[in-house]
Subunit: 474 residues, 2 copies
């Protein structure tokens, strides 16, 4: 198996494609104030949370409607120029970067909640609606949208990267929660995939082909997702363990027993320290599970009792409860800020994040060895995990100007991913492939599957204009 391509190896192979002045003029004419070629705007659309630096797109179009998207794509198609969808820029894998040049298509102004169908537990939104905005909009219905990747990402971006996050262990990922899409194709046509019916056997599952396609097969212009009744009772607790292994083994056992836990997150002692410093908390500095339980009062009580029993077997401390909604919000905000807490712990550093997911029985093998390796390498790191799903992230906190540290981080990442693959896991649980994981994708699925992806891409986007250079090379 080949070692994965790091961006350093990848970038020199990429040629920026020409963006003719005629296209820029045509876009300016069509979009007026919704078009910008100002360097500040281009630069803002030329970076995300990844550790890559590439030239910005040649211009940015701010779409306000599906027709805007269709017209922008049609113009780019006419000149065979790349078009890169942009939401809020929270991607971690370089999805937004114009690695072959082109136009950034910003859909953040398409931020209307189009229709709340509370009687059907569904809602239809434009792609620029963020998950927090969505939950605010549906609050009065007694329903909520559980998918929570941490960042206040857009529903369009979350669909495009098949995002998940803390609640996925109970409610599934975007794969399970997107019912239907409106999509602008590479030729600028507008299609609809799926209906609001909960299930369907009506032909190819175009919805799920688009979910996770990272903007390479179409631009998402409308999304219908499932909502869930707000649980009658919610309880959140932390539990500290004497070792990381004990916390992980508690998780494995509760999943194997089928406890319908809503959130089951892991932080190690090192990361708790960072979070305490960043969020001014006093969490006990040890391996810790952060858990949330949803259900009826009796159901939640039952879940808590079961998990407490399991945790006690592995030496877990008594649960500490976040009693009020405010305390819960504080706890989960601290968890969501772990990434920033990590980055802040080493001023000037860049985080190289990893994102594997393994079958639950292999979680201890995958996670513990990776932590040991990081510690042995002496590189600062943080560790967070949606461990109920077998998914965890390490972030190696490197000095970006120190090539040796970058190399060490890349080596650790490679070891971590290859271990996950050997254990039957995946190279990305929720961040997507983007630029960084193309070699790993090949290792994971083999040439045959990636060739099939390429065939699909060539069929749906023959001129390779939709977010080219992502997921695989053509």
């Amino acid at each position: 198996m080949n070692a994965p391509a790091s961006l350093n190896h990848l970038l020199p192979q990429i040629t920026l494609r020409t963006v003719p002045q005629a296209l820029l003029d045509a876009l300016k004419t069509r979009f007026g104030d919704q078009f910008s070629a100002a360097m500040a705007v281009r630069e803002q659309h030329g970076r995300d949370e990844s550790a890559f630096t590439v030239p910005p797109p040649s211009a940015v179009v701010f779409a306000q409607s599906t027709q805007d998207v269709a017209d922008a794509v049609k113009l780019c198609a006419q000149y065979k120029v790349p078009v890169i969808p942009f939401g809020v820029g929270s991607s971690l894998e370089g999805h937004l970067l114009a690695v072959q040049g082109g136009i950034s298509l910003d859909v953040s102004r398409m931020n209307q909640v189009l229709s709340i169908q509370s009687d059907d537990l569904t809602v239809t939104v434009q792609p620029g609606v963020t998950r927090k905005q969505l939950n605010e909009a549906v609050k009065s219905t007694g329903l909520f949208f559980p998918i929570d990747p941490g960042a206040d990402a857009t529903i369009g971006g979350m669909s495009a990267t098949r995002a998940s996050g803390t609640n996925a262990v109970r409610y599934g990922t975007m794969r399970e929660n997107v019912l239907a899409l409106e999509v602008v194709t590479a030729s600028g046509d507008i299609i609809r995939t799926g209906t609001r019916a909960k299930k369907s056997s009506a032909g190819y599952d175009l919805t799920r082909l688009m979910v996770g396609s990272e903007g390479t097969l179409g631009v998402i212009t409308e999304v219908t997702v499932k909502l869930y009744p707000l649980p009658e009772a919610v309880m959140a607790a932390t539990c500290s363990f004497g070792s990381l292994a004990d916390a992980v083994n508690t998780t494995i056992q509760l999943i194997q027993l089928g406890v319908p836990i809503a959130r089951c997150e892991l932080l190690d002692a090192n990361t708790i320290r960072m979070v305490n410093a960043h969020s001014k908390l006093t969490l006990r500095e040890g391996a810790m599970l952060l858990m949330e339980f949803h259900g009826s009062p009796a159901g939640v009580k039952e879940q808590v009792e079961t998990v407490q029993e399991i945790a006690a077997e592995f030496g877990g401390q008594t649960f500490e409860w976040a009693e009020t909604p405010e305390e819960r919000t504080k706890l989960w905000t601290a968890r969501h800020n772990a990434y920033f807490a990590g980055v802040q712990s080493r001023p000037g550093c860049k985080a190289i994040t990893t994102d594997t997911c393994v079958p639950i029985s292999h979680l201890a093998d995958a996670l513990l060895d990776s932590v040991t390796e990081a510690q042995e390498a002496g590189i600062p790191y943080f560790l967070v995990g949606h461990v109920g799903d077998g998914n965890f992230h390490m972030g190696y906190l490197i000095d970006p100007d120190n090539p040796e540290e970058r190399e060490t981080a890349e080596r650790l990442n490679t070891q971590l991913v290859q271990r996950a693959l050997q254990l039957g896991g995946t190279c990305t649980g929720e961040h997507g492939v983007g630029l960084h994981k193309q070699g790993f994708l090949l290792e994971e699925t083999g040439n045959g599957a990636v060739d099939m992806m390429r065939t699909l891409k060539r069929a749906l986007d023959p001129d390779n204009i939709l977010n080219p250079g992502k997921i695989f090379s053509l």
Copy 2:
């Protein structure tokens, strides 16, 4: 909108493609006893539970391994001859019929449970394993596979049609439960899609592209599915109502409240009569919900109390309990045999089945008007429904030799499907498109989406050899 193509309109357009003797000879040489051109075998592979009659395939290959499948497909590809995967022949939509001629590829002998990964709640099987066989094989682990389309279908066939059935309201469909596949492509290559990780963002979702593709994009040779812990407590009950509307409205409300009911099935009085006669039962002859509750003892008690309260509001009778596993089995067997009970109620008849699924709030509109129309048309019918999902089936019991009855049934079906589509639903909740629903698919998704499906098909199967003529015309 055009009226959907009935088979009568469809068949004359189809030309049987030539199956050269050289291919038959080559298959005979390669497969020996695993090859048959005997008319009885061909005929057995040339019919399913649909109401269509077409010439049988030219021969049948009984694959015993993935390599057998790959070799058979390669030989057919060489001669550009259709190859039609075959499991147990329980399709209701003509999926198995050699409408363009060709070779039936029977995978029923590929019936090994390859690996039970009970610690991960997953199992990997060959495609010919049936759902009952699978549950027998995992019984000792305390886990079960919930997807239950009624027929003892193969896991391969269930994957190919995106099947679901009675438990889907709680556990999802094959869409949510297939983790990974091994697939033989149109060129005879073997690829793997997905891993055993519970979630992944690693490239295009080839697994879900294959699930529901009805054998038109690849032949499934291995399936990894999720398992679930057997619930600690299971309770099943029936509840009779004064009207169909009351039963439907009870269902709508319990779903809107988020009750995690495991099964929620509807039969009308007319169908109960048929079931009683067929299964020698004495179920009360009224609109009836058949329900099953899974969970902890306390959780089940809570669910039951909630549903009883709702049912009482709609005039539901006291629940009648199936107390023992044997009684539950009897009840669900009777439910599963409703199709056969219907057919038996009119000797010599054929059932024209329908299969729409609508957003739950529209279930009453969709279902009640369809029943009224059938009653007004004076055609015998049965009605069953996985109503918790908004999915129901009517079966019109027609005299196959009476063209007028067939026409009436087709008209009723068309009205029923178009009503469902107008209500935001789908033309098939779980049976698939096959031959009969191609016009409806077009109405449902529009030309753009079906054109995209055609583009995918042409890209992955340029010679159109994989189960041609299904889902859409090329």
